[in-house]
């Protein structure tokens, strides 16, 4: 009963000065809309830039690092145990690039619940022969279907078809930059010389464009089988296992676990790409700071309007108190006014923010570096809408807090006797 009454009084006071209330609400609407738009756009852009690297990068990469044994024989010898041994010209021994037991390791990894999938890979350093000139390059032997499923391989094949590299024997997808150097059209055959000196013709079935030129000038992709043939290795020869996890943040822990479990080297994505994390978190921080500043400014607007309203309504407050409304009732009335401005202004702001986001999403954004992107990227995460909504209410509550307290302390005797 009391609550209903307080709300109805608040409503009447709001509507009696609807122009003023509207101005206050528009302030909130605008700031919430900008908050949503800004964050959506910024985060969209962030996701795009991160995705550029992160989507294609395995969360964990298992491989065999070629490195000298840390435990040199002299250290094991009992007679030199207490001495400090200087060893010069240490060389890597008979370590191989190949992953041992790759089959069982793959099976074990795929059975892990934290793992979305794992794709084998092997790399071969080759020369592409362009007339008399040799151009160094790398051929990545991949399992095309898994690569498409886990690492969006298809998105980066801008010409030709990704799956052809599996279906067409002795075929290759060239990096766009590399293809330009080799002047190789789709359907052409390029000559490749392996490190062992063997020469292979490979048919170009597509172009690959990562958005990073340096990569596109060097990298190319072939099926695992083709690459194994190129290197003269058996069908179980792979050098890397690329793992995608359900949660990216698990990567360091899982990597550590696999290192001991499979006795291989494991590199997690955070270590490999730490700079991206930093960049995107700073950008997010900036967007939040701007958004929250907008809201605080809107809060001051409401603070002002409520303050003015209280001076105008001194008489009404006095009579409410004289006829039995307590200080806390008056306080509640003004808090309700502030919150309803925040609520309705915020609600319209959220919708407007969505509309702005949708508009930005339609603006063409074509860049050679990003073959899959045609319009500006926008992130529609409901989290922004929740934060925006909650924050508008919280800001308005604080904006209303001091004026409401002032109103609750109005001394009716002073007002009434002053007349």
């Amino acid at each position: 009963m009391n609550k209903k009454l307080i709300i109805s009084i608040a409503k009447s006071l709001l509507l009696a000065r609807w122009r003023q209330s509207l101005v206050a609400a528009v302030g909130v609407t605008f700031s919430i809309a900008m908050f949503i738009t800004l964050l959506g756009f910024m985060t969209g852009l962030n996701d795009l830039l991160d995705g550029l690297i992160l989507n294609r990068t395995p969360h964990i990469r298992l491989y065999n690092q070629i490195k000298p044994s840390e435990n040199q024989p002299v250290n094991a010898a009992a007679e030199f145990k207490d001495s400090y041994n200087f060893i010069h010209s240490v060389k890597a021994g008979i370590t191989r690039q190949e992953l041992y037991n790759s089959g069982p390791v793959m099976q074990a990894v795929k059975a892990d619940a934290r793992v979305v999938g794992a794709a084998p890979k092997l790399t071969a350093q080759v020369f592409f022969n362009e007339g008399t000139i040799d151009i160094t390059g790398v051929i990545n032997g991949i399992e095309v279907e898994e690569e498409m499923r886990l690492f969006n391989f298809r998105d980066y094949v801008t010409a030709g078809s990704a799956i052809d590299v599996k279906n067409v024997a002795n075929s290759i997808i060239l990096g766009k930059g590399l293809a330009d150097i080799l002047v190789a059209d789709i359907g052409d055959v390029v000559q490749v010389t392996t490190a062992q000196g063997e020469r292979f013709p490979l048919k170009v079935v597509g172009y690959f464009q990562s958005g990073i030129q340096e990569i596109d000038k060097v990298q190319s992709f072939a099926s695992i089988g083709t690459t194994q043939k190129l290197l003269g290795k058996p069908a179980n020869y792979i050098t890397d296992i690329q793992i995608k996890l359900t949660d990216l943040n698990l990567a360091p822990a899982v990597a550590k676990e696999y290192t001991t479990l499979f006795d291989v080297d494991a590199e997690d994505i955070q270590t490999a790409n730490s700079q991206f994390e930093t960049g995107s978190s700073v950008r997010t921080l900036i967007s939040y700071a701007v958004g929250i500043t907008l809201l605080v400014v809107a809060g001051f607007g409401i603070f002002n309007i409520l303050n003015m309203m209280i001076y105008e309504k001194m008489d009404s407050i006095a009579i409410l108190k004289a006829t039995g409304f307590s200080g806390s009732d008056v306080n509640a009335i003004f808090i309700v006014i502030a919150l309803s401005i925040g609520f309705f202004g915020g609600l319209v702001g959220l919708v407007l923010g969505l509309v702005f986001s949708l508009i930005i999403d339609q603006i063409p954004f074509v860049t050679a570096a990003l073959p899959t992107v045609t319009t500006y990227p926008v992130n529609y995460s409901p989290m922004f809408y929740i934060i925006g909504g909650v924050f508008s209410l919280v800001t308005m509550y604080f904006a209303g807090f001091f004026p409401a307290r002032k109103a609750s302390k109005v001394d009716p005797v002073e007002i009434i006797r002053g007349k």
Binding site: M1, A16, L320, A322, G324, G327, D329, V413, I416, K419
Partner: protein
Amino acid sequence: MQDIILEARHINKYFHDPVTTQVLTDVSFSIRKGEFTSVIGKSGSGKSTLLYILSTMDTDYEGEVLIDQESMANKTDKALALIRNEKIGFVFQFHYLLNEFSVLRNVMLPGLKLGKYSAQEVEHNAMQRLEMLGIGHLATKMANKISGGEKQRVAIARALVNNPHIIMGDEPTGNLDKKNSEIVFDIFRELTQEHNQTLLIVTHDQSFAERTGRILEMEDGKLISG
């Protein structure tokens, strides 16, 4: 002594700004149910100050105020608000209607705040009061669209809506012309005679006071007669 509605015991009041001056000195009196009492005195005699102390709005005084045999000392702001709401009706010199509301709604507000009756009953009561005061036809008008005399009558209706023990008036006819003052006085008299309503009216209008049942005269913060 059973029907004493309002009692003041040895009230002393000081103003501290700019220098401490005593505005009320040892004021004691009591009012019985159904009495039509007026308080007169020159300006500055402390009669309004006394009224605001009796109304519980001013709590900075020495002495004791009892409303309905209940002491007002040491009560919280909320408790006092409730007492004002339930037991005291106010009529001020200035009408103090809320312009954002209709006449009927203005009258209903204290009743809705009390929350003792449903909204329908409060509306019915409020309508009854308005009709009793001859302004039923104004019920749906906005409070700022009616004349000064009418406003004061609406304020009286508002004071009556919760069936208060006592109605306090601070110069209720001070802003009204002769004709409207007469109407208001007649309403007050009718309230005491027909509804046994207790009234305590502060006024400086001698002719108004002379026609009331009892006169308390104040001078320099002291009760000198009554």
